[in-house]
């Protein structure tokens, strides 16, 4: 599983990263979180809002810090 947390280093991106990390640990999923902070890289992914989360190339969170509940639901799929 490839997880990308996308956003150019704002406070909300850190929060999102923390939520994703916490959920992964709780579910016992062992995978690296890739942080995408470079604007050009972000646009290359087709994303225009931060913070966003992408799993295996699919945008699952766009433009908001996901709640833990929300993130768990997404990851369990």
């Amino acid at each position: 599983m490839n997880i990308k947390v996308i956003g150019s280093g704002c406070e909300n991106c850190d929060k999102t990263n923390a939520v994703v990390k916490e959920c992964l640990e709780e579910l016992g999923i062992d995978t690296e979180i890739e942080r995408v902070t470079d604007l050009v890289e972000i646009v290359k992914l087709g994303v225009m809002t931060a913070p966003s989360v992408m799993i295996d190339g699919k945008l699952v969170v766009a433009g908001q810090v996901p709640s833990k509940k929300q993130m768990m639901k997404i990851l369990k799929k």
Partner: protein
């Protein structure tokens, strides 16, 4: 008809305008021995009433607006805008600008995303002008403070500036003025995540919390300045500097407003009290538009994405538009 009008008046004064709250605050202050008319009492009256009103409206509005906005992420707006051509594309861009969630920090990714998708530069600028200037929140808040007519006038002229500004930029063919790294960015389309009603509610709730936190200092500052103008600055001074008769009032208001960075919610209490003190309505509209649309932080941000000539043109066009609105407003209303 009469019943409709009475109903509307009640809605405007008591629900949107919260007249009852004003009376309540007045009575409580009178009980505390700080009746109307004297300095601390009247200052507090304006301050407390305005601050409670704005925060309540803010929370309700952001919730409703965010819910609507959750249907229009920029990725989706981009697709919709791509289906239109010519001036229609500018108009759609301006309209979508009002419903797409936007903050100055996301202007660059949005600019890059739109440009790389091959949207005309003018359409992108119509979007970038209308997005901070006109949003659903300002419409309702303006209605609450100034009444329906002024609110609609503000929205209509805001859209006109966005469409005309974008069209002019299009005609000037300044595509070479976009930073190279943006022109070379590839176009990628992604599906936006599908959201359930519960997701949208969650999103709206989170937006309320984060927006209130973010804009609270601006609102408090705005209301304090507003209350100070309301009580400490004599009307004749405001009238002589910002009144309809003063020829330089509009450019002055624009020049003061442009570098300032504030939210429309913080600007309105200042505008409200200036208007009550006799400033021209057009002048006030210019001031609000200048504050919300252009600011130093957003210019610094944009200067990374576009070259100086285009940035200058963009600022120039917006300023001229705002000044025309000001003079027009002072003459007509």
């Amino acid at each position: 008809m009469k019943a409709v009008k009475t109903g509307w008046d009640f809605f405007r004064d008591q629900i949107l305008g919260m007249r009852w709250l004003k009376d309540l605050v007045g009575k409580l202050l009178a009980k505390a021995g700080l009746g109307e008319g004297r300095f601390p009492g009247e200052f507090l009256h304006f301050f407390l009433y305005d601050i409670i009103k704005i925060f309540v409206l803010l929370a309700v509005l952001i919730f409703l607006i965010s819910y609507i906005q959750s249907y229009f992420p920029p990725e989706r707006s981009r697709k919709i805008m791509g289906k239109f051509h010519g001036i229609w594309a500018n108009l759609i861009g301006a309209l979508l600008g009002t419903v797409t969630p936007f903050c100055s920090c996301s202007s660059i990714p949005i600019f890059m995303g739109f440009t790389s998708a091959g949207l005309p530069l003018g359409v992108t600028f119509s979007f970038l002008i209308s997005s901070p200037m006109v949003d659903l929140g300002s419409l309702v808040l303006l209605m609450s403070v100034f009444g329906g007519k002024i609110a609609f006038a503000y929205v209509i002229v805001g859209l006109v500036i966005a469409v005309t500004g974008g069209t002019i930029i299009e005609r000037l063919h300044m595509e070479d003025q976009v930073a190279d790294f943006i022109r070379q960015a590839p176009n990628v389309e992604v599906e936006s995540p599908s959201l359930t009603v519960a997701d949208r509610m969650d999103y709206a709730k989170n937006q309320v919390v984060s927006t209130v936190k973010k804009v609270a200092p601006y609102i408090v500052a705005g209301v304090i300045i507003g209350a100070a103008i309301h009580n400490l600055i004599p009307g004749h001074i405001v009238r002589s500097i910002l009144g309809k008769q003063t020829w330089y009032a509009v450019p002055l208001a624009t020049a003061v407003g442009v570098p300032m960075y504030a939210d429309i919610f913080g600007t309105i209490p200042v505008a409200e009290s200036l208007l009550a003190k006799g400033a021209g309505l057009g002048t006030i509209l210019s001031f609000m538009m200048a504050v919300t649309t252009l600011s130093l932080p957003s210019m610094v941000m944009l200067s990374k994405a576009i070259k100086k000539k285009l940035l200058g043109t963009f600022i120039g066009i917006v300023c001229i538009g705002i000044i025309i609105v000001g003079y027009g407003g002072n003459v007509i209303i």
